[in-house]
């Protein structure tokens, strides 16, 4: 597996050079959110806002009202938790084109509950005017800026940093409202997002060898949620639908799919894999994915449940498919 480092750092700096109206705001987490290269390349377009996220959100709204294109950088938790009222009243209510780059989704930080965005999609999905995008690999991350920029209104981008796998070809950028179809099969529709896509990809081939056909879709647009391919996948799955996300089971991808299934009157069963109604603690991504059941074994158990049969998958099979990319030791940096 090909690994890329500081993907957003390069992409943001390149964007800044060609978009003089783009202004990056950072809440004292500039290198931590890979905005340092932009700061050094486009110093006149960079605003250090210090540890004051409420002000940072409203300040960005003021910039947007004057025609600038603010790109706000901090950890997701300091956006949707600490400064939610400001995101709602200063940014979302007036539908201003402010882009929020929220880092450290779910298990991707050992920083504990205070740093782990585990319910950001649930919270922000409830905001009128808000668009939500989530990245799962280097290609998603490097292609998110033009997609976010094309939207008339606020956008929350659930970002990855550090060493990232390239799961999807560089020439195949993230597209608004279009899932990536990763495998085809008629038994189960598997809808994954963020880092769970890479995790699930390890299991799909093993499952296929065991006779289970899986249509695997990587979802990058969480709101709006109206992708015809997602609907077709759910409707065409003989055994049922599985969603898998680095987020609480409630309010995120799993909930969005459940709403879709109900409203489209799709006659199927769904299993939601996600963090089950709990805050987490500080540990490595691998540990947390295992402890909070958003890993390959959890996926196989879900498939077994839908198939009503035991799937013969050994630890060796999983390990053979494991590429150890996102959660390698490079991701153990603290903040």
């Amino acid at each position: 597996m090909e690994l890329h480092t500081r993907v957003h750092a390069r992409s943001l700096a390149a964007w800044g050079r060609t978009h003089p109206d783009s202004v990056v705001l950072s809440g004292d987490l500039t290198a931590s959110c890979e905005a340092d290269e932009f700061r050094d390349t486009c110093p006149g377009q960079f605003i250090s806002m210090g540890l004051a996220e409420q002000n940072m959100m409203s300040f960005a709204a003021g910039l947007a009202r004057e025609g600038l294109r603010p790109l706000v950088h901090t950890f997701g938790v300091f956006m949707y938790r600490r400064a939610l009222d400001q995101v709602e009243m200063s940014i979302a209510c007036p539908n201003l084109p402010v882009r929020l780059f929220g880092f450290l989704p779910g298990v991707t930080t050992p920083g504990g509950a205070s740093h782990q965005s585990t319910n950001d999609i649930a919270v922000l999905r409830s905001l009128p005017n808000m668009t939500i995008l989530e990245t799962g690999d280097a290609t998603d991350v490097e292609s998110i800026l033009p997609v976010a920029d094309s939207i008339d209104g606020p956008v929350y981008c659930r970002m990855l940093r550090g060493a990232l796998p390239r799961l999807f070809p560089h020439e195949d950028p993230l597209r608004l409202g279009k899932a990536r179809i990763l495998s085809d099969g008629n038994d189960i529709a598997l809808l994954t997002s963020g880092i769970c896509t890479e995790e699930a990809m390890r299991a799909v081939d093993v499952l296929r060898r065991n006779g289970v056909g899986i249509r695997h879709l990587h979802v990058t647009t969480l709101k709006p949620f109206d992708d015809a391919d997602v609907m077709a996948a759910c409707a065409g799955a003989a055994l049922g639908v599985i969603t898998m996300e680095n987020h609480l089971r409630s309010g995120g991808l799993g909930s969005a799919v459940a709403e879709l299934i109900a409203e489209q009157r799709i006659d199927t069963r769904q299993i939601r894999i996600g963090i089950d109604d709990t805050y987490m603690y500080g540990a490595s991504p691998g540990h947390l994915m295992n402890r909070f059941s958003i890993d390959v074994p959890s996926l196989i158990r879900a498939v077994e449940e839908l198939a009503g049969q035991r799937i013969e998958v050994s630890v060796d099979d999983i390990n053979a498919a494991r590429t150890d990319t996102y959660y390698n030791e490079k991701q153990q940096e603290a903040l």
Partner: protein
């Protein structure tokens, strides 16, 4: 369109300015009291801030002519991706222009006072208050960004000053010479975001910002001193990097002088010490519960009606 009163383009240093501006302030109080007699309302805020609004709209701010309909049309729709033609209340403060000032009212329950000021200087029809707090009107009781004279949704306090700071940063980058004015009241300064905003304005050296604080010592529960005392506000603003002048907020010439204070590289904050019952002695009977006036009896209502004629 009503003819603009002379005050709209007045020069603060003009001989007759003080007299005319004081009459403007009294007019604001009278309109708000008149409306309150019929409907109840935010009356004490007009009493404390009438001179501040008269100063701002009587020549203190450099605004272009109003671009808003003199009689506000019904509120069409909320802002969304499907509604790009959302009306902005800022039209009543004139068109955006590099040399013109911008006004941001933070305590949105001062809406009635702002509308009265807009009427007093010919930016809103004299019957504009007929729509006040009526369903489907933009002339809302707690103004939003679509309400005449407003530009932001400031009802959750602390957010307007930060947005104004962002506007000031962007305007400086564009090379605009116009200022950004922010009206604050003292009680709302308990919100931490106010101080985050001041810190950032000082750090960014935003000297195109003029702030005025209606320091009337009042908040919803009563006296600021009793609810959450903030000590000396002027010292706090100074400590957060602003040039600060403290004045009698009912003295128009003092307010004007205060805003001439040099403040290179810093925002300028004028703490206007005011009385929440100024010009309306009757209101003192309710002290310190002045936030919103609801009459308990018709007798009380008629006493306030009588006071209309005596307004100083």
């Amino acid at each position: 369109m009503q003819p603009a009163t002379p005050l709209q383009q007045a020069d603060c240093r003009h001989d007759n300015w003080t007299t005319a501006c004081q009459a403007f302030a009294t007019d604001i109080r009278r309109r708000v009291l008149s409306h309150t007699v019929t409907h109840g309302g935010y009356l004490s805020q007009a009493c404390s801030s009438a001179e501040i609004f008269a100063y701002l709209y009587g020549g203190g701010m450099n605004l272009g002519p109003s671009e808003g309909p003199c009689v506000p049309p019904p509120y069409a729709d909320v802002r969304s991706k499907c509604n790009a033609r959302h009306p902005s209340g800022m039209l009543y403060n004139g068109r955006r222009a590099p040399d013109k000032d911008r006004f941001f009212l933070s305590p949105t329950h001062y809406a009635l006072t702002l509308y009265a000021a807009l009427i007093g200087c010919g930016r809103l029809d004299r019957n504009g208050l007929d729509q006040f707090n009526q369903d489907g009107s933009t002339v809302e009781m707690i103004g939003g960004e679509h309400s005449p004279g407003f530009e932001t949704n400031g009802g959750s306090f602390g957010q307007t000053i930060s947005q104004a700071a962002g506007v000031a940063w962007a305007r400086r980058r564009k090379g605009d010479s116009g200022k950004v004015w922010v009206f604050l009241s003292d009680g709302e300064c308990q919100e931490g975001q106010t101080w985050e905003a001041m810190m950032s304005m000082a750090f960014q050296k935003l000297d195109n910002v003029h702030l005025v604080v209606d320091n009337n010592g009042q908040q919803v529960d009563g006296r600021v001193e009793d609810v959450m005392s903030m000590g000396q506000l002027d010292q706090k603003f100074e400590a957060f990097g602003s040039t600060v002048v403290r004045v009698d907020g009912h003295d128009l010439e003092a307010i004007d002088r205060a805003f001439q204070t040099p403040h290179e590289g810093k925002p300028l904050t004028v703490i206007a010490d005011t009385q929440p019952t100024r010009g309306l002695k009757l209101l003192e009977e309710r002290y310190p519960n002045l936030h919103y006036i609801r009459f308990k009896s018709e007798t009380e209502r008629s006493r306030y009606a009588d006071a209309l004629g005596e307004l100083e």
